[in-house]
């Protein structure tokens, strides 16, 4: 079996690839649905309805898509520079911790200032968290994958300590949760009687901004050059370490903002389950989007739909909602394969 590079990739292939990959994953996962004894087509219809079938479903999907957009952007930016930030989960909690620390009474500002303030302190906290692995990578050549992964556990334990200890809200009847975010820091609701909050607007703006930075600015040029060919970038005078550090701050900051949207938007206080693996799913979001910041919006909504749809499918059809995780993981792998096949063709000899 040989792989041969294609001389050029037609546009339709680039567009079709992720869609085809997701389709293949759905077909493969129908085996799991059959194993559960549920009818495949009805199950998928139930999933689609649960995701996008009503105004409420759509609003819930968008609530879930909000942090995914941010963790997806975090992964997309970092992966562009070949900075393998797998620590989105830890950075998310870091952002949530910072928002809780500053947003539960320590600082009191009017809402138009308080909300940006929470995003800023959250982003700084998350950026600093990723700065550690980034410095270890640039100064000591320590592989960032392992360090970012390990830091996830450290941060989660830190949150665990704070919520069972000093930050535990005495009003929460023994539950390990933080004090509520002050009113001025709560992200405004976008639609009455839904949970949809201003975090979505923030995530959309972030996507567009990241897209602009990556494609239109010299920072973006530097990040892409470092990721594509570090030797050539270095030879041309692009500061490699500075670019990696800058990328780390941006990426960690974006993931942390997901923590802020959850604490100040969805939940309104910090708990230990504000993220069911948003940090990891963000990697799948970024890959499905082809690392394109605008593609991240669609990919995040898609995966959010899968998760919410799987929840209602599991209620209706008795298929475990872990199927959403399976679909996410399988999509991540299949998309990589599909994208590669747009650049290579396989030849069997």
């Amino acid at each position: 079996m040989l792989l041969e590079p294609r001389t050029h990739t037609p546009l339709w292939m680039t567009i079709i690839a992720p869609i085809a990959a997701v389709f293949v994953v759905m077909v493969l996962c129908s085996g799991l649905i059959m194993w559960a004894g549920a009818p495949v087509l009805q199950s998928y219809i139930a999933l689609a309805k649960g995701a996008f079938g009503s105004k409420f479903a759509i609003s819930e999907t968008l609530v879930r898509a909000t942090p995914l957009m941010l963790t997806g952007l975090a992964a997309a930016v970092a992966f562009r520079a070949k900075l393998w930030n797998i620590g989105g989960e830890g950075q998310l909690y870091m952002g949530a911790l910072a928002a809780t620390y500053f947003g539960t009474g320590m600082v009191n500002l009017p809402a138009p200032l308080m909300i940006p303030f929470l995003f800023v302190v959250g982003a700084i906290a998350g950026g600093l968290l990723l700065l550690v692995p980034a410095l270890l990578k640039t100064k000591l050549k320590v592989d960032e994958v392992v360090t970012t992964l390990l830091l996830n556990f450290v941060i989660l334990l830190m949150a665990n300590y704070l919520l069972f200890g000093p930050w535990k809200d005495p009003m929460a009847m023994g539950w390990p949760q933080g004090a509520p975010i002050v009113d001025a820091g709560i992200l405004p609701k976008l639609i009455e009687k839904t949970r949809l909050h201003g975090g979505l607007i923030f995530a959309l703006l972030a996507s567009v901004s990241v897209w602009l930075v990556m494609s239109k600015t010299k920072w973006g040029l530097e990040i892409r050059a470092v990721g594509l060919n570090q030797d050539a970038a270095s030879f041309a005078g692009i500061p490699i370490n500075k670019t990696i550090i800058r990328t780390a701050l941006i990426s960690g900051g974006l993931a942390a903002c997901a923590g802020v949207t959850e604490v100040a938007g969805t939940k309104e206080y910090l708990t230990l389950d504000i993220s069911p693996g948003f940090g990891y799913t963000g990697i799948a979001v970024a890959m499905l989007a082809g690392l394109n910041p605008l593609g991240v919006i669609i990919a995040a909504i898609f995966f959010a739909g899968i998760y919410n749809g799987a929840d209602s499918m599991s209620r209706a059809m008795d298929v475990s909602n872990y199927i959403a995780d399976v679909i996410t993981a399988a999509s991540l792998l299949m998309v990589m394969l599909a994208v590669m096949l747009t650049r290579m063709r396989i030849r069997f000899s």
């Binding site: 041969e4 592989d143 994958v145 360090t147 665990n160 300590y161 399976v326 394969l337």
Partner: protein, 313 residues
């Protein structure tokens, strides 16, 4: 707390060896993969699968040793899947590995839920019992700590020797080491690079799965979600700590486990003033420090992370 007492305590050493066992399996497995030039970040998920499958096999009435074999086979299947992406397709080993971990974990959880719907408290099985080795286990302290262990623990120690021997003394071991240094050097000698790498990743993944199985059918008697809890990532760090040598991997795993055992004992004796979460952080923090300390000396297999593509210019 008297440290001397602790180090003379049989329970402490026995616990160290016990806690080292899954790390030995995992680290050896990862080491085999990386020696062949493939970083296998599927380890965390593959250990989860091993843990789930082995437990389920015994729970459904299967035999313990067959369960170990079944876990290994499942591990190898995920290893093969990893190889398709990372070896044959030459895709990013970082992202592929994370993908395999997410897939193996989610499939394990899904299967567990499907096979045992509506279970709230995890049911229990009868795990491997301690198997004292005649005479050796009667040596005071040392023998009692090291030779009254689960048979899987003995297997782990034996495998360190086997892996070491195979890597350095047999033709296939030479091929594995060479393919991790320069795949082209293997290709020109008429050996299929893809097969060597795939074989190494599959065997390594089998080891990882057995490491996971040890947790559910030897130390504990039930399967819990999130029970691997970063052990796989710690193994990845340990491989670097061990400079890709099986003997040092054993040393690293035991050191690490000893550290963990100390931590648990200190935690029990001083729970009043240091929150337990900080003790739980220690393994991860320690791993990061180990990476930092070793970073200057790290002599990576030269072709680690470098995909090989046949017939291309």
């Amino acid at each position: 707390m008297d440290f001397l007492d602790m180090f003379l305590n049989i329970g402490f050493w026995a616990a160290t060896v016990r806690m080292a066992t899954p790390l030995i399996f995992g680290t050896l497995g990862e080491l085999i993969c990386e020696r062949a030039g493939v970083l296998n970040l599927g380890i965390e998920g593959i250990m989860t699968t091993g843990a789930m499958v082995a437990w389920m096999w015994v729970y459904q009435g299967g035999d313990l040793w067959t369960a170990v074999l079944v876990a290994a086979v499942f591990g190898m299947m995920f290893g093969f899947l990893h190889s398709i992406f990372s070896v044959y397709m030459g895709l990013s080993q970082h992202v592929t590995g994370i993908g395999i971990t997410l897939l193996a974990t989610s499939l394990s959880y899904y299967s567990f839920r499907m096979l045992l719907p509506g279970v709230t408290t995890p049911p229990k099985i009868t795990p491997f019992q301690e198997l004292p080795i005649p005479y050796l286990s009667e040596i005071p302290i040392f023998g009692e700590a090291f030779f009254s262990q689960s048979p899987l623990t003995y297997l782990a120690f034996v495998l360190v020797g086997v892996v070491s021997y195979v890597l350095y003394r047999t033709p296939v071991g030479l091929a594995v080491r060479m393919v991790g240094e320069n795949p082209m050097a293997v290709e020109v000698q008429g050996i299929d690079v893809y097969r060597v790498r795939t074989g190494a990743v599959m065997v390594g993944s089998g080891f990882m799965a057995v490491g996971g199985a040890f947790l559910t059918i030897s130390v504990f008697d039930a399967f819990y979600f999130d029970m691997i809890n970063g052990r796989g990532w710690i193994c990845v760090a340990l491989v670097i700590f061990a400079s890709w040598r099986p003997g040092k991997a054993l040393l690293g795993a035991v050191l690490f486990a000893a550290f963990d055992a100390i931590q648990i004992r200190v935690q029990q004796s001083s729970a009043s003033f240091i929150p337990y979460q900080f003790f739980l952080m220690m393994p991860y923090v320690f791993s990061i420090f180990a990476l930092i300390v070793m970073s200057r000396k790290a002599a990576y297999p030269k072709a680690l992370l470098v995909p090989f593509r046949r017939g291309q210019r």
